[in-house]
Symmetry: C2
């Protein structure tokens, strides 16, 4: 036992949530937040939030639920990172429609083991994401659970009606692009799970995480690709179809192809894999291509553009041309070196 | 044991949720639903739902999370009623802003003990509420939980910008009204809890619920007051303040008074209590006034109107004039027969 733990004075003060009650807790957690957008007319504090939609824009709504023990493990997930990631994964869905998220609501159910200080840490992450992505927190609900922490976030955004991008509008001949790099979040998770097992077997084990900071960060603190939406707008490109990579590239390609009634040809050599991700895949004796195709939670954007827009994207750092949209009859295929091809298979996250 | 239970052929088919997987399950549960509103451009099936806001209207957003064992007990709550109530409590928040709800998103986390058939029953209730209140189900999330069922619903509505009604705008001299009757849902819950205890003590006990259908229905299958919003519009009344009665009348009055920086005088003799609620309060030896003031989940509307609108509401069935808005210095008081008065106290639902 650490000596400091014997010193009462050095212990942080821990406040049970029951000391504040529901209304007190919401007030305590949200009183720092000032609404930034003129579209956010009324935030927390009434029966509903009130928004003023921008004339000519459509409203985008996306929602996600994260459950402790299913989507996250608090043994290796700092609460601040969890709060940040919970927001980011929802914003990613709005960007994937070519929209700009403006507001979120945050609902939380928590068991009595959580203290006010733990919730403050979670909200620190939520507010950090709100600040960096320019988001107003406009509402939510806070309640008890019998077990664990559950976070349900709804993101609200806007886009010009003629610039909303769906999954079902890819056309034969379009080029397929993916942003950033793939497989890192999946390998980061494998590493965290391995270190957890080793620690549980022997609590004196020192976690070997420092040299794998990149994939670990991809897992614990992902970013949503706001920058890409800005680049596309700047270059006056409206993708023909778009989706965010939450369940793995294969799964997302199959969504676009099925809904657009097309096929695709993807080139293995074009899949963007970070050197640190590649190195960790070797350590785990996993094929890096498999991690890139089927690992989830990268929160990159996969999109198609018409041939006339192809040149506009050449040479932009962090956007990889991975293949083409073809006729449905040609299937959904991965081409590897030597010309051999394999059917893409969805092996994304199945929580059920 | 019932004889029929020995007959394998008569047993309903039960399908584990894992047989469908997440995407299969969402498709299975939502494929019957057709979008009704022209404002609902895109529902389930993309990264986000897309709405076309009506020009001149503001958007209202409200969200609630319901947790098994905290907000509902499946021992006496039919899943169909639970689905219905989960929707209604969210719609109630939109009506409480003087708005019209148009869409909902539904996120569900569930443990492996739930079957596809159980979820179908839950969604039957959700769709019944959608049909009766003219709501489009436009999105959501379905995932696993380690324990129990969690339902998170977000309701989206619209209102003319100059007709949105807040909690903080009641004025001294305004009249206070409440719709329907109060305390029924609370007493219904007491009855269901009592019958559950008796059943657990002795499974041969016959539940005595039939003669108390009214309060039980108030608890299990409440309605939101869409009709009242229509009456107010018809009579060209915009309340000065409004809130829905989810945590008990006292608690809601205190919200309006605190946020509007006013006081109130409420008359006990004017509190609307249904005869069946009154009878059940006697059986439980509870003061009916206490049940009306502090019992929650009635989902009625509490609102204030300016003196010039007072006469327009006279004689309308189901809207009770319960008191007046006074200066903050006069406090928040309940007057009982004989002229004695008591301070109103918030004893609403505290789940934390």
């Amino acid at each position: 036992m650490n000596k400091d733990n014997n010193n009462e004075a050095s212990k942080p003060k821990l406040t049970p949530v029951s000391a504040l009650g529901e209304f007190g807790l919401i007030g305590h957690l949200t009183n720092r937040h000032v609404l930034q957008h003129p579209e956010s007319v009324k935030g927390i504090g009434d029966d509903a939030a009130v928004l003023q939609p921008t004339v000519g824009k459509q409203t985008l709504i996306s929602t996600d639920m994260l459950v402790e023990g299913i989507h996250f493990d608090l043994m290796y997930t700092p609460l601040k990172h969890l709060g940040y990631k919970s927001v980011v994964v929802n914003l990613s869905d709005i960007y994937a429609m070519n929209g700009i998220p403006k507001q979120i609501t945050v609902s939380i159910a928590l068991s009595s083991r959580f203290t006010v200080e733990a919730l403050e840490e979670l909200y620190d992450g939520i507010y950090t994401a709100c600040r960096l992505y320019d988001i107003d927190l406009i509402g939510g609900d806070t309640t008890s659970s019998n077990k664990g922490l559950i976070i349900s976030i709804t993101a609200i955004g806007e886009a010009d009606a003629d610039k909303v991008v769906y999954r079902n509008t890819a056309k034969v001949g379009d080029h397929l692009f993916v942003t950033g790099d793939l497989g890192g979040a999946y390998l980061g998770l494998q590493l965290l799970e391995r270190e957890k097992s080793l620690y549980l077997d022997n609590p004196n084990t020192k976690p070997e995480i420092a040299q794998h900071e990149y994939p670990v960060q991809r897992q614990l603190r992902p970013e949503a690709r706001k920058d890409i939406i800005e680049i596309l707008a700047d270059k006056q490109i409206v993708p023909t179809a778009m989706i965010d990579v939450s369940d793995g590239l294969s799964s997302e390609l199959l969504h676009i192809c099925k809904q657009s009634q097309v096929g695709c040809q993807i080139y293995e050599e074009n899949l963007p894999i970070h050197p640190k991700t590649f190195a960790l895949s070797q350590e785990f004796k996993l094929a890096p291509t498999t991690c890139a195709l089927n690992g989830g939670e990268d929160y990159e954007l996969l999109f198609s553009v018409s041939p006339s827009d192809y040149r506009k994207l050449e040479g932009i750092h962090g956007i990889a041309s991975i293949g083409k949209v073809v006729a449905a009859e040609a299937g959904t295929k991965l081409y590897v070196s030597g010309g051999k091809s394999y059917d893409l298979v969805a092996q994304g996250w199945q929580h059920l």
